[in-house]
């Protein structure tokens, strides 16, 4: 009894005299008590039977597992996984990297299971060192090509995706023999970086924000006194602002879908019409070997618009269905009360703006009228991004250039749905919000002042309010 009383007194004294210790700020973690707050179609899509049918056909296709031959042909010869929905699954189809022990317990990193599930042959493929059961789904890139002695040749930028697995050894892959890229050697040369899947919720709204809105927001923020610059990445074809991917390198959801189908799953389609060799095989080598081409036996492209289809979704290509699915996905629904209560979230939102996070993580932008569905038009997209690319400095630099984005420039990551994400930053290096915020500072970065204000000048209570707000999104 005396021991219990002493413990209470001790706790009270600590709270009184060491408030920082008593109220150490912590990431509340993935929001688990409000249900899954993302993955639904826009209300205007639900209200229209035809649009809803398209959305559901897209969802079905998004989750479909592809094979080399058979009913869903085209997989490989190199790939990172066999379906969109396997990587984009947290907390719902369309999202990002899942985990088995964290709400809503979607499952282990599916890349870690590819041998066990028979997706790849264990005699010809190994699980790369950076793929672990409780870690994020990852794609790998080598920033530079190798020299003959195994060092990175910094005069030969690469940066393309090095697919993790090959079809070699699968029963449906015939005589195609390919080896996996040298991930271990790349690690030894410090010449490997990673990317995790970007969530696609609300991306139809992002598509429908006119360039003029983005430019006006850029001008408005130009008088910040926080050390922030920023610019846009542009589409090389028409020069307009591109907006998808970690470096805003993709112009549209159709391009985003077509590229991913080709690069991540190895499926040629009407936008990317050939099977994809590795960057070195293509640019400096001889391409894919002949016995690894046309493995599906369908000819190219493997995914097409079907003139023999009988209705909209049997006519439509997989790529177009992916695009429709993402286009119609509503933005995530934030919680007004969880975690930390309404007052804390409200204070956190105000602090988020006051300390300067909102200069880049623009809370909302308005869309233009939509021809697709009413819900995409004249809507408020609460994306918490300016869709600009910013110098994030040496701490986060991956030395990969995409479009106009250099090695340390990244698109401001949209924060909607953050409350139910597990892995943060482009390579999934952080699972704790505080670590993710900390990583915003480094030599050459635009966020140093804002990060220092958060880290050095806010009280632990204010920091907690901000963390609660972020996990409410």
């Amino acid at each position: 009894m005396k021991t219990i009383e002493f413990a209470w007194v001790y706790a009270l004294l600590v709270a009184l005299f060491f408030p920082g210790m008593a109220f150490a700020q912590t990431d509340p973690g993935v929001r688990s008590t409000t249900g899954v707050n993302a993955g639904q179609p826009l209300a205007s899509v639900t209200a229209n039977a035809n649009d809803l049918a398209f959305f559901q056909a897209g969802l079905e296709q998004f989750n479909e597992h592809q094979t080399v031959k058979g009913d869903n042909p085209g997989l490989g010869p190199r790939f990172n996984l066999d379906s969109c929905g396997a990587c984009h699954s947290q907390p719902a189809p369309g999202g990002t990297s899942p985990a088995s022990l964290i709400f809503p317990n979607v499952g282990s990193n599916p890349q870690s299971q590819v041998i066990a599930s028979g997706l790849v042959s264990g005699s010809t493929n190994t699980i790369p060192f950076f793929v672990v059961a409780n870690g994020p789904v990852r794609e790998a890139r080598f920033p530079f090509f190798f020299n003959a002695n195994g060092t990175a040749n910094i005069n030969a930028p690469n940066g393309g995706v090095e697919d993790l697995f090959t079809v070699t050894g699968r029963a449906d892959a015939g005589a195609c023999t390919l080896q996996q890229p040298s991930f271990t050697a790349a690690r030894a040369a410090n010449n490997i970086i990673f990317r995790i899947p970007t969530p696609t919720f609300g991306t139809g709204l992002m598509a429908n924000i006119d360039d003029s809105t983005l430019l006006a927001n850029h001008t408005t923020q130009a008088t910040n006194r926080l050390g922030i610059g920023g610019t846009f990445n542009h589409n090389g074809n028409d020069g307009t602002i591109s907006r998808y991917g970690w470096k805003a390198q993709n112009k549209s959801l159709m391009i985003f879908a077509g590229e991913a189908y080709n690069v991540e799953m190895g499926i040629s389609n009407e936008l990317f019409t050939q099977d994809r060799p590795l960057p070195g095989e293509d640019q400096l080598g001889s391409g894919l070997p002949a016995n690894c081409l046309n493995l599906a036996g369908t000819g190219y492209p493997e995914d097409i618009t079907h003139s023999d289809g009988t209705d909209a979704h049997t006519v439509t290509s997989d790529t177009a269905l992916f695009s429709v699915f993402m286009q119609f996905l509503d933005q995530p629904t934030p919680s007004a009360t969880v975690p930390g209560g309404a007052a804390s979230i409200s204070r956190g939102r105000a602090l988020f703006s006051a300390v300067g996070c909102a200069v880049c993580h623009t809370p909302s932008l308005t869309t233009q009228p939509s021809h697709l569905t009413a819900g995409l038009g004249d809507a408020t997209a609460n994306l918490f991004s300016d869709i600009e690319i910013h110098h994030m400095g040496a701490t986060l630099a991956d030395n990969v250039s995409q479009g106009g984005a250099g090695g340390d420039q990244f698109r401001t990551a949209p924060l909607w749905g953050l409350g139910q994400r597990i892995f943060f930053l482009h390579d999934g290096r952080a699972t704790d919000l505080l670590a993710a915020i900390e990583a915003h500072e480094g030599n050459g970065g635009e966020a140093n002042i804002v990060e220092a204000i958060f880290d050095q000048l806010l009280t632990p209570g204010q920091q907690q309010d901000m963390l609660n707000f972020l996990r409410s999104l």
Binding site: F145, F146, A185, H234, G404, D408, G444, A452
Partner: protein, 338 residues
């Protein structure tokens, strides 16, 4: 003859075989996705090796605005003619990003060092805005500060509207505001040097600390031209004139040939010598191929020499290549024109 031909064929075949052998032992056949060397020299971590649009210059001697450094607890910037002694146990932990495409420079970011013993903390940002390329409709530091006050987000309350102040022998425009929710104050002191607004931004919850830091600014050195509405070069440095590279001032102009479209703004500061030739080119933000092509072209431009008090003087001006960013219009935007 036949024997000679056979020998020649053998030599050709031998040479071909050797070349194939050499190729097989050269770079990996894949061209770079594979390596069998388990212990190559590793690339350094935390280094930006692959830059996008970045700042650069035609020579490495002429001082640049982004060339300032903290050394020995003093921030010095030769281009701006500025030295600023840091308070004891304050330091620059991280360097800033390259200049932005609209001419915004992060010159230094100063904060208490790990060994700092004080109870109050703060952050000092030294920044500059090139008035040739600002997106805001302002022609000098005073106007730009007034614009900032008018555009202040509702998250903040004005504590002291922009007002001219003197600290030591230096003139500034000072603007104070506060975030009630964060309980943080921002005190901004701005002056103008060589057509740049140079800003000292103090952030803290302790206004006494901020005032003491501001008073220490009296010890800094600034060029004679510095002031909220002056600061247009001259004397030891070129006179700065907005849009000098236009109209009748340009006697000869060669357009750069840029093969690849990047769609980015390319803001360029040039110094024109007394003979009307370009002597220095500074790219605030450009891809290397753009910088090369534009430099080659600009060195062929010829200008009407600029006269001040009947004497030829060097001129510094700005030229925007590439895609110019959209700017609001204002009658005051020409204020840095002479």
């Amino acid at each position: 003859m036949n024997m000679h031909r056979r020998i020649s064929r053998c030599l050709v075949l031998l040479g071909f075989s050797i070349s194939l052998l050499a190729r097989a032992q050269g770079p990996p056949q894949s061209g770079g996705d594979f390596s069998n060397n388990p212990q190559p020299n590793a690339l350094p971590s935390g280094v930006i090796l692959l830059k996008g649009a970045w700042s650069s210059a035609s020579d490495s001697v002429t001082p640049l605005p982004e060339g300032g450094r903290v050394a020995g607890s003093v921030y010095s910037n030769q281009y701006l003619g500025l030295t600023y002694a840091l308070s004891r146990d304050w330091t620059e932990k991280y360097s800033g990003p390259p200049p932005s495409a609209n001419g915004y420079y992060v010159l230094a970011q100063i904060r208490p060092a790990e060994k700092f013993k004080g109870t109050s903390r703060g952050i000092i940002l030294i920044a500059a805005q090139d008035l040739f390329f600002t997106l805001t409709p302002a022609g000098n530091a005073l106007e730009l500060t007034n614009y900032s006050k008018d555009a202040l987000s509702p998250d903040y309350k004005v504590e002291q509207p922009p007002a001219l102040v003197r600290i030591g022998s230096h003139s500034f425009v000072r603007f104070d505001y506060v975030s009630p929710v964060a309980e943080l104050h921002w005190h901004v002191l701005a002056t103008q040097i060589r057509c740049h607004m140079v800003q000292f931004v103090f952030t803290s919850r302790d206004t006494k600390l901020m005032e003491s830091l501001i008073q220490e600014m009296g010890k800094m050195t600034l060029p004679a031209e510095a002031g909220p509405i002056s600061g247009r070069g001259g004397g030891e440095v070129p006179v700065c004139i907005k849009d000098y590279a236009q109209g009748e001032n340009v006697l000869e102009r060669i357009d750069p040939v840029i093969a690849e479209r990047h769609f980015n703004p390319v803001p360029v500061r040039i110094i024109i010598d007394k003979e009307g030739k370009v002597k220095h080119v500074h790219f605030l933000s450009a891809f290397p191929d753009q910088a090369k092509a534009i430099t080659d072209a600009l060195f062929q431009w010829r200008f009407r020499p600029y006269l001040r008090d009947g004497r030829r003087v060097e001129v510094e001006t700005g030229v925007m290549f590439g895609r110019a960013p959209r700017r609001p219009t204002s009658s005051s935007a020409e204020a840095v024109n002479e």
